[in-house]
Amino acid sequence: MGMIASIIFIVLTVVGTAWFGRNVMRIRKNILLGKDLNRSDKKGERWKTMILVALGQKKMFQRPIPALLHFAIYAAFVITQIELIEIFVDGVSGSHRVFASSLGGFYTFLISFIEILSVLALVATFVFLARRNLLKIPRFHMSEMTGWPKLDGNIILYLEIVLVLCILTMNGADEALMNIGHSHAVGLTGDTYGFAVSSIVGPSVFGGMDVGSLEILERIGWWGHIIMVFTFLNYLPISKHFHVLLAFPNVYYSNLKNKGQFSNMNSVKKEVEMMFDPNADPYAAPAEPAGEPERFGAKDVVDLTWKSLMDAYTCTECGRCSSMCPASQTGKKLSPRKIIMDTRDRLEEVGKNIRKHGKEHADGKALLGDYITEEELWACTSCNACVQACPVNIDPLSIIIDLRRYLVMEESKVPSELATMLTNIENNGAPWQFSPMDRLKWADED
């Protein structure tokens, strides 16, 4: 039996990890479909930002109560990973709580710590479930939050409950066994492990059960725990919960410049420089760059930068961006969260197409038009509220601007009033129709 259990465990571990690895590599490949962008500078500042914003969840604390609850789940998630080390050793070798006797009091402390965090996480999970489903918080009920995104938000909370219950069942049954003199732990005697939660809850809930049932219960908890871990691991890449991993690189690579600074397009710069160059031969044919001429702006996800694509996979769908967006708040179609979710959905689709039909395959669809409409794009005031609000430093605005650039420069699709404004800038040097010669007139007026 022990041998078979070990083999099952090893197979589970290998398959669970490999499948996860395969999906992560797919996401990595998809992100790398994006355009180049250099974010390798200022390493010190990047580390600092990552520690504050990703590890310390600084921006979450703009709303302290959800931040604390979220932090409880996050801390439980991180700390529980320590216990996994023991589970792996036990699972492979067939031992039981292999570190219990050698670590002694520290072991009791560690497991107790995990238990307390798990209980806090459980409380937080129930609050979040209630908040998501019972309270009418607008950002959880916008149009992009129906169907899968809504289910996704709940599934993870259910998984979390099962996971914590497994941990407490495992520890509780073990405590109950100890209590009646059945220690399974390697080289450990006594009548309790002294775990903070299960030493009390275990005997009181499971006390009175016979040894055989308790042993089965303990195994159910143990296997349940590890199965939940692999379920969770393989759930991440298809869910918004991938942010638990991507939040770190995404914040590390975030924009460190002033938020108001938009990128200057080098291709355009070169062309305009030529026009300004007094030595340029006005009749010379424009130098055609070799290969496909570069597209101005973005029509589809592959025209966006890799950072925008990483943003798409990092989004937690929390809606903090949209709840601060002036357009969303006044009932316009634009929702910055939807911009990011659309980008991810389209990128998943493009990735699937490439895997199935090869790189050159075109499905006739695009991010612009099939996912994001012009009406959404033109509602943006470029106010940066979404960028400021995002707890994982996602930048919906840069996607909006890239798509606008394509609309305007490649398709000349621009609201008519803006077309007038642009003509005025080109002809009169001002967005209104005034003569440039009148620019100083105000100085003579009273």
Partner: protein, 263 residues
Amino acid sequence: MSEKIKVPTVAEMMAAGEVPDILFWVGCAGSFDDRAKKITKAVIKILHGCKIKFAVLGTEESCTGDPAKRAGNEFAFMMSAMQNIQVLNGFEIKKIVTACPHCFNTIKNEYPELGGKYEVIHHTQLINGLIKEGKLSMSGGDFKGKKITFHDPCYLGRANDVYEAPREVLQKLDAELVEMKNCKAKGLCCGAGGAQMFKEAEKGDKEVNVKRTEDVLDTKSNIVATGCPFCNTMMTDGIKHFNKEEDVEVLDVAEMIANAMDL
């Protein structure tokens, strides 16, 4: 303003063999919009009153290209930017002050990569500096006992993290400064940015400036202070929407200081 101040252009100054210490970038709104011209004149009054050697570009100034860039037309932006940079570099301009956060943002952040490197400050920063240096003092003004709230322009606040300069200046007035529920980094846009100023808004259930005006009215302020000609327009329209012109005035920080400063 009754007495007219002579506004020198850089070209005139240079012809007289002089160099301005600072260039006042007036911007399109400041040059052409009737409401914004008043802000321009207030800035002139402050510059003149503090005996600063300043000049304007006059007819050689042209749109920074901000609305073109935000609307997605990089060509129109580049053309404007390069033309302006040619002029500015030709005059060897080192320092620029402007009363428009959009001009401020574009020249400060987007021009350097194109060869235009200047020290750029917003007029509220200039005024704050002048007060700190003791060059500008205030004792008069019509603000005694008034309640003032400051609306953060997106391109000054979030875009460039300037939150304190305008507030420090306003605190020097003999008035009560109150904050709206969404202020500073969380401030709500007036609705004009990203080239929205020049078009009708998309369909929705409310105008952005109306929503922002609700925040203003919640504070029961007598004055909403701004630091942007476009915010000024939007807030003025918002106040009109609620028929509150009698109760709430929309003023630029520069106008308030020009009113209260000792000459």
